[in-house]
């Protein structure tokens, strides 16, 4: 094939033009959006130090705020347990669907399309909608929070597990099929044992993520740590709200470090 002649000046000029165009387009989108949303960038930047001074002054724990600790601790533990339970239950459901629907282990083309649609559907319904819909039927209880997190997580994990199976299990599956193993032998001896480390990695990530999301669900449905924060925040007990945020930070970071350690060992 004949390559068109490109000299350095032409190439660099074209590259520079492309970059300028890209920056102009992104900048344009930004300014138009800001205009529509009535957001002033300078004001926004100025608000950062203001917010942090406000935080430093109001969120400072006082000796009294220690008395809130037991209540915060109980709710936080409840939230963590809920997050873990929702991820584990979701993982069990998701692995079944992922095996039925992935490109390498799927049973039929229509099943693949069905599972993909189902996952996308569950994932894209906003968590807010799940929380509010469930709140209407299940009232203000931990079960509501659990179900909202469960539905959301199922959608995420089906997609993640399908991608893992397609990436990692294809070859070992072919090898086992060549030995004449049955479908279930291939799945249980080959596919699942092959993907378990990545599976755990995703489960740990989702637990971390769900502890954070549980705060949102909690604010909306009045359960767990989100409820406690909302309560303190709206009754202007900012020192207690600060303690709650601090507790969330500690838990999330500890979970992150713990799951990084586990990943290091298993991967």
């Amino acid at each position: 094939m004949k390559q068109p002649k490109v000299n350095a000046a032409k190439f660099l000029g074209k590259k520079r033009m492309m970059q300028t165009a890209a920056i102009a387009i992104i900048g344009g989108i930004y300014f138009i959006s800001c205009l529509v949303l009535q957001f002033n960038t300078v004001e926004g930047i100025m608000s950062v130090p203001k917010a942090f001074t406000w935080l430093a002054v109001n969120f400072q724990p006082t000796p009294e705020s220690m008395s809130y600790l037991p209540q915060i601790g109980i709710k936080l533990l409840e939230t963590i347990l809920m997050a873990i339970a929702s991820v584990v239950v979701a993982a069990v459901i998701a692995i079944v669907f992922a095996i039925l629907g992935s490109k390498v282990t799927g049973i039929s083309k229509s099943m693949q399309i069905f599972v993909r649609g189902l996952a996308s559907f569950f994932r894209n319904i906003p968590l807010v909608a799940w929380a509010m819909i469930l709140l209407f039927s299940f009232k203000q209880s931990n079960f509501t929070g659990f179900l909202a997190l469960l539905f959301m997580t199922i959608g995420f994990l089906i997609r993640a597990f399908m991608e893992i199976i397609e990436d990692e299990a294809g070859e070992s599956m072919l090898a086992l099929e060549a030995t004449g193993a049955s479908y279930f032998q291939v799945i249980f001896q080959g596919v699942i044992s092959q993907i378990i480390p990545s599976l755990i990695s995703w489960i740990l990530y989702m637990i971390e993520n769900n502890v954070r999301d549980a705060t949102l669900v909690g604010i909306l449905t009045g359960t767990g740590i989100g409820f406690v924060f909302d309560l303190y925040y709206k009754s202007f007990r900012f020192d207690a709200a600060g303690m709650t945020v601090l507790a969330i930070i500690i838990v999330v970071i500890v979970l992150e470090l713990l799951s990084n350690q586990i990943r290091k060992v298993i991967l």
Binding site: I29, Y30, C34, V36, L37, Q38, F39, N40, E43, G44, S47, V48, K50, A51, W54, L55, L81, M82, I84, A85, V88, V89, F121, N124, I125, P126, L127, V128, A129, M132, I133, L134, L135, F136, S137, K139, Q140, S141, N142, F143, P197, I200, I203, R212, D213, T215, L216, I219, L220, G226, F229, V245, I248, I249, V252, I253, E256, I262, V265, I266
Partner: protein, 289 residues
């Protein structure tokens, strides 16, 4: 230096055993990783069983609740309509949520890239990098909704609070993602430019930037998806406007589940569109790389 290790003859002591049995082949590795996998699984399952059996359901009759849920879902998914707000208001609200997601992603990408460059181990000194990384870990640990609530008091309710709140989490998330991609760059590329006497930012824009564009773009679009979901959440729980607020009003105050259905469908369409664009862009960069 030329080493002559391979020239050494391989010496092996003759075995004294008359019939050297080959070692049994183990079918299952009993290594540390296997042990860890088992213990993680067992503890997760035990925690789940404990939680599910102790779950507080506030004496709601599950059969009634599921029946009610079925009726609500029927209203939502099979009889959606625009409700009292009308389709124009809902579309406007949807538009402002999308713009909110775009603006916060742009802010997150720009600031995140600068911070990522400063935080990467292969570009800057260790102390600055470690400082930025731990600050970002703390910011990431605080849920987006709490940031939005904090800013809503500091700057007043409205789009500014939502934008700042969402941006904070985006910046922290993208800093981590970008700096991980920067750290994967071949060290020799950077050293080659350093040798020629290039300044720091020249290295960044001539070597680092072009190399990581694919992963940069794909992470940014993943974040756009997340930011759209977060924009809805912030609208609902912090009253920051947009389609999230409409969703909250319809489902929590006026209990108009037909309208909830309309909003959910609108959100799903936009979210799927964003996902589609993200997948296409990732494919484009993966094939042209």
């Amino acid at each position: 230096m030329i080493s002559k290790d391979e020239a050494q003859p391989i010496l092996r002591k003759p075995s004294l055993r008359p019939d050297p049995q080959p070692k049994r082949i183990k079918l299952h590795k009993s290594s540390g990783s296997q042990w860890m996998i088992n213990s993680v699984f067992i503890s997760l399952i035990l925690i789940t069983i404990y939680t599910l059996t102790h779950l507080n359901t506030e004496n709601v009759k599950l059969s009634d609740a599921f029946h009610g849920l079925g009726m609500t879902l029927n209203q939502i998914f099979f009889q959606p309509n625009a409700g009292s707000d009308g389709i124009v208001v809902l579309l406007q609200a949807l538009g402002s949520s999308v713009l909110l997601a775009i603006v916060t992603t742009i802010i997150g990408a720009v600031v995140g890239f600068v911070l990522a460059v400063l935080a990467s181990r292969n570009l800057t000194n260790a102390y600055l990098g470690a400082g930025i990384r731990s600050a970002m870990a703390i910011i990431r640990a605080i849920p987006t909704i709490l940031w939005a609530l904090i800013f809503s008091i500091a700057v007043g309710l409205g789009p500014a609070a939502a934008i700042m709140g969402l941006s904070f989490h985006s910046i922290a998330y993208l800093t981590k993602a970008y700096s991980e991609s920067i750290e994967e760059i071949d060290q020799s590329t950077i050293e080659a430019l350093k040798v020629t006497g290039c300044k720091f930012w020249v290295i960044v824009f001539q070597a680092v930037w072009p190399t990581i564009i694919p992963s940069l773009v794909s992470w940014t679009f993943i974040r756009l998806e997340i930011n759209f979901a977060n924009a809805i959440a912030v609208g609902a729980a912090a009253g920051a406007g947009g389609i999230g607020y409409q969703l909250f009003v319809a489902s929590g105050m006026s209990f108009d589940f037909h309208e909830v259905g309309m909003i959910v469908y609108m959100v799903i369409i936009v979210a799927m569109l964003l996902e589609f664009v993200a997948v296409k862009i990732r494919q484009h960069y993966l094939t042209t790389k």
